[in-house]
Amino acid sequence: MTRKQRRLVLIGGGLGVLAVAVALMLNAFRDSIVFFSSPSDIAEKHIGPGTRIRLGGLVKDGSIVRGNDLRVRFEVTDGNNELPVSYQGVLPDLFREGQGVVAEGTLDGGGTFNADTILAKHDETYMPKEVADALKKSGHWKDDYSQRAAMPVTGANK
């Protein structure tokens, strides 16, 4: 093989692998992207049952109902709209009423969101970013969500 031919093989191979990678990515993007929605988005956009989405908002106060076999029902609210969610399994450590939550799953025909994943929060000061944005959009963001992270002036009073 001449130098030119060898270089062609190299470039051809490189482009080939790249093309495969791009094809794989485009294909995967079609199937495996999950959109984030707030309860208001779901009410407005009429998302059909069966579409996989991420639902974010606050767990409505007083809405958690625990059933048998680790079944839990609660409502997710963004202040304007709310959506009932059902989930079976162990809830994350910091799942609390009045706190932010992100649930992944699908809507059923009756308007209930069947979650298969409830995302864990790592810290009491951490509000999922999507949830914070959704709350700001719906005008129900309270400043104290972020201020909890700021420094409280405690201790040492001389």
């Binding site: 093989v9 794989l24 999950v34 625990r66 162990v90 450590d93 992944e104 944005d133």
Partner: protein, 667 residues
């Protein structure tokens, strides 16, 4: 006093870094040896002052000086000493201090041990290293000063995020940073070579140990983080394709590619321009990783603080360094001479194959990680999407399979022109072994995924291929045992290193396949006296008790573990841990190892009826995932100890005493 001392030392270090960044460059331009020789002592002095600053911060943490804001926010006098020390980098400011300290440390190492480097290359590389230091020291001093004081010193600190109060914090971030920052050396050498417009095979020999060391640390750092997440988060997963994890995987993929292309450059003088580009990419991805994790663009356990000025500052650092490096590359790379012809089927060809697939896989991870961020930015926050495991499994997986299959062939092919048929013949035993493994996996499995046995087959092929390489080189069974041992001892350590690292990949792959395909999970609510069955084990819940800790309280569940036959093999005690300082609870999973497999048990919040929800997993061969990483690390270490890399000289021709066939065996 101590924090002010640290603050001052850091400012002095910045000044020294400026000198180190400017004078040597001027020296190489004007050919002034005095200016060039400033680089090494400046690097050493800069390290000394950064170390003083770091130690001052450490002293604040050890002494629990809560008048320092950073200590107040992240520490607590009730924490054990080890966590007070590790919480130095368990926060944004401190972790940046660690970053800079490691950067200065590596700079000092180059200054000390780079004695055989050409003077101009060393001066330029240290100068480039100093620019990075300047950027990050400015970043700390302007936006993330860890030495700020509180006017009214509180009596007690706010405690470290409980999830970070774990031995994992002592290990995972420093190893990861050693890896990230280690690539800065390769970057500095690459930029220095571009500035000089000259590069040769020796460049690869100087840079390879640094890349190898960084790669080893990164491998262990990623594996450590994976194991930490596995046992701490209570979800039992070892890899989530979380953007933060991807941020560390991308430099690893690029670094692995760099490691291999540098071999081609060192041995054959080919792929120079490509290797330089990879060096730039590997460090750029490390910077992007730092940016993604630290700027608060992503919310995760790693995002300590979200302060927009920091994000913009880091973005500016990214643009200047990555943009600048790539622009310099576009301008100067055409000057570098190409060299080294090789046929597509050859050791070089195999390494190019490796590079193509590794960089493509890296690109898919890059796109999957950044696409949601870009889309959100482009649509003004209207469209938020998440790209999860299905995307990565569908892109990364298919690209890694050919890589795994080809891995065994590479070391068996000759340089310049290889013989694929003969390589395939020598791999026959490995292929037969793999086929047997596939058949065995099909026979044993009860209704797992159809593809899983083939995964086992690939893993076995990779491992057997690595063994084949050594067996071929030592001519085991074909020569008398004594001669084989002599040959094994005579093999270059880098050959052993390759075999070990490749073997480790196979071990990790085997663990991943086994645990993904044949792992089982039970989620149930149990009351005292009830039992849960999983795999061949039966767990009896005996009840809960309280156990106080230094700065937390544990509610512990006691479970007795029995074999299906009934004999007791031990107890597992998962707990819910409450930290009063932050009013936060964590799940402490209990693990029981059976060979390489593990039983994994974690508790949920107790139900009103007195039962406790538990997650119980059986994780077959799960420990192999991390064992493989340790083997890779060991292989890297063997390679690093190879004499040629240390002295930069070819091995003395001792081989002449041996029978002639030994001559072609080594490389």
């Amino acid at each position: 006093m101590i924090p002010e001392l640290g603050h001052y030392a850091l400012m002095l270090a910045l000044g020294l870094a400026l000198i180190q960044g400017i004078m040597p460059i001027v020296g190489t331009r004007t050919n002034d040896p005095v200016l060039m020789s400033i680089a090494a002592p400046a690097a050493l002095a800069q390290f000394v002052f950064v170390a003083i600053a770091f130690m001052a911060l450490a002293e604040c943490y050890v002494a629990s000086d809560f008048s320092v804001l950073n200590v107040y926010e992240n520490s607590n006098s009730a924490m054990p000493l080890i966590y007070r020390l590790t919480s130095i980098w368990g926060n944004h400011e401190g972790s940046m201090m660690l970053w800079v300290s490691i950067l200065a440390f590596f700079g000092a190492l180059v200054a000390l041990f780079g004695t055989n480097l050409p003077v101009t290359l060393k001066a330029n590389a240290l100068a480039v290293q100093a620019w990075i230091a300047v950027a990050f020291e400015l970043f700390i001093l302007i936006t993330s000063n860890p030495f700020l004081r509180v006017a009214d010193a509180p009596f007690e600190g706010r405690d470290l995020n409980p999830i970070l109060q774990d031995p994992g914090l002592a290990f995972h971030p420093p190893m990861l940073y050693l890896g990230y920052v280690g690539f800065s050396i390769a970057f500095a050498f690459a930029i220095a070579a571009l500035i000089e417009g000259r590069i040769d095979a020796a460049w690869a020999r100087w840079v390879r140990p640094w890349v190898l060391g960084a790669w080893m640390c990164l491998t262990l750092g990623i594996a450590g983080g994976s194991y930490w997440a596995y046992y701490e988060l209570g979800w039992g997963g070892f890899w989530f394709w979380d953007p933060v994890e991807n941020a560390s995987l991308m430099p690893w993929l690029a670094g692995t590619a760099l490691l291999h292309s540098a071999v081609v450059m060192e041995k054959r003088g080919a792929l120079k321009v490509w290797t330089i580009l990879l060096a730039i990419i590997a460090f750029s991805l490390s910077l992007i990783g730092t940016f993604l994790v630290r700027s608060g663009v992503l919310t995760s356990v790693h995002a300590f603080a979200t302060d927009p000025t920091r994000g913009i500052f880091i973005l500016a650092i990214l643009v200047i360094f990555i943009g600048g490096a790539l622009a310099l590359y576009a301008w100067r790379a055409p000057l570098l001479k190409q060299g080294g012809l090789f046929a597509p089927i050859s050791r070089e060809g195999a390494l190019v194959f490796n590079n193509l697939f590794l960089t493509s896989a890296c690109a898919t991870v890059f796109v999957g990680t950044l696409y949601p961020l870009v889309l959100e930015a482009l649509t003004g926050g209207e469209t938020k999407i998440s790209v999860g495991p299905p995307f990565f499994n569908a892109t990364f997986g298919p690209l890694f399979i050919p890589l795994m299959l080809a891995m065994s062939f590479g070391p068996l092919l000759g340089w310049k022109r290889g013989d694929i048929v003969s390589a395939a013949q020598r791999l026959l035993a490995a292929a037969v072994l793999a086929a047997v493994a596939v058949a065995a996996a099909f026979a044993i499995e009860h209704g797992g995924p159809v593809l899983a046995p083939f995964g086992v087959g690939i893993a076995v092929f990779v491992m057997a291929g690595a063994v084949t390489d050594i067996a071929e080189r030592t001519m085991i069974l074909r020569l008398p045992m004594r001669a084989t041992i002599m040959r094994a001892i005579g093999l270059p350590r880098s050959v052993w290193g390759t075999a070990f690292a490749h073997f480790g990949i196979g071990v990790t792959l085997l663990g991943i396949v086994a645990v993904t395909a044949w792992g089982s999970e039970r989620i149930v609510a149990v009351k005292p006296g009830e039992t849960v069955d999983i795999s061949h084990y039966r767990l009896t819940f005996d009840g809960v008790f309280n156990r106080p800790g230094p700065n937390y309280r544990d509610v512990v569940g006691h479970f007795t573990v029995r074999r299906a036959s009934g004999d007791v093999i031990g107890a597992m005690e998962p707990s819910r841990r409450t930290f009063p300082a932050r009013n936060m609870a964590t799940t402490e999973a209990a693990l029981m190892s059976r060979g390489f497999s593990q039983l994994y048990l974690s508790l949920g919040d107790p139900n009103p009826d007195g039962s406790i929800p538990v997650r119980l997993f059986f994780k077959p061969q799960v420990l192999m995932i991390w064992l493989g990483a340790i083997i890779m690390f060991f292989g890297g270490g063997l390679s690093l100890s190879d004499r040629r890399l240390r002295v930069g000289a070819p091995r003395p021709a001792k081989a002449k005493d041996k029978p002639t066939p030994a001559l072609q065996a080594a490389e």
